[in-house]
Symmetry: C2
Subunit: 119 residues, 2 copies
DNA sequence: TTGACGCGTAGGGAAACTCCTACCTATTGT
DNA sequence: ACAATAGGTAGGAGTTTCCCTACGCGTCAA
């Protein structure tokens, strides 16, 4: 439990999942993770998209707590804030035994199959 | 890596993240996890929403591979298919060291703070 | 066979999303 | 002081989401 997670904490959870629903925003997170903090234009260069549109995406990520900005002169350096992703993992955790069971079942199925028939 | 995950596998990833972006759909997954497979009406009873709307949500979940249906007479029993959630966890994994670093930093900060000043 | 039940699909409307082109503010260099 | 740079904001258009009310299709019970 990263935050209080008691009851109406759903609003924060909602913002995080909604932020992750867009491929451009997931790509921004990947860029910040792989290349470290960057100003907006450096990020925008990697997309076929005008800068104001990317600014909007950055706002969504910021309001979800997934990135933070640090002003440096006239630039704004964005950096990854991975905290909310830990909450996603917490959310995922109770499902883990289900997908392990499914994978186990698949494995056993394959074990009982002649090699020729495998997908 | 649960599926091939080579290149244009992004479409499947997109469908999963998009499916999880809605609170009703996340709640459906929780109900199926906690109470096991159920027909549509039993699920619909837990929401302040008409049944056709829930049917739409079930379609989105089905196309994301997160639920599966099994017909039984005139009922359709939906069950959790957690496989795609394993892929979400895979997606999450490279971020883990970042949130661990952040939490570590926060812990050290708290250690250096007098108890009275803690949030 | 007829009626009720379980559920999906069609179609529509309000709101939200995602992109765009201006445009505005703040900072820096000349 | 002035022009150029970095980046946010406003407003608008096209698309998608999410809910609704009808309605259609298959199944079961009388």
């Amino acid at each position: 439990m990263t935050t209080t997670e008691s009851g109406a904490e759903t609003a924060a959870e909602d913002r995080v999942f909604a932020a992750l629903a867009n491929a451009t925003r997931r790509e921004v997170l990947r860029l910040l993770r792989e290349r470290g903090p960057q100003p907006v234009q450096a990020l925008a260069d990697h997309f076929d998209m005008r800068r104001p549109s990317l600014s909007e995406h950055l706002r969504v990520l910021r309001e979800a707590g997934l990135v933070a900005e640090q002003r440096s002169g006239r630039q704004r350096i964005y950096r990854l804030e991975a905290g909310p992703l830990a909450e996603v993992q917490d959310w995922l955790h109770p499902y883990e035994r289900f997908w392990r069971e499914q994978l186990k079942g698949l494995g056993e199925l394959l074990d009982r199959m002649p090699d020729d028939d495998r997908p």
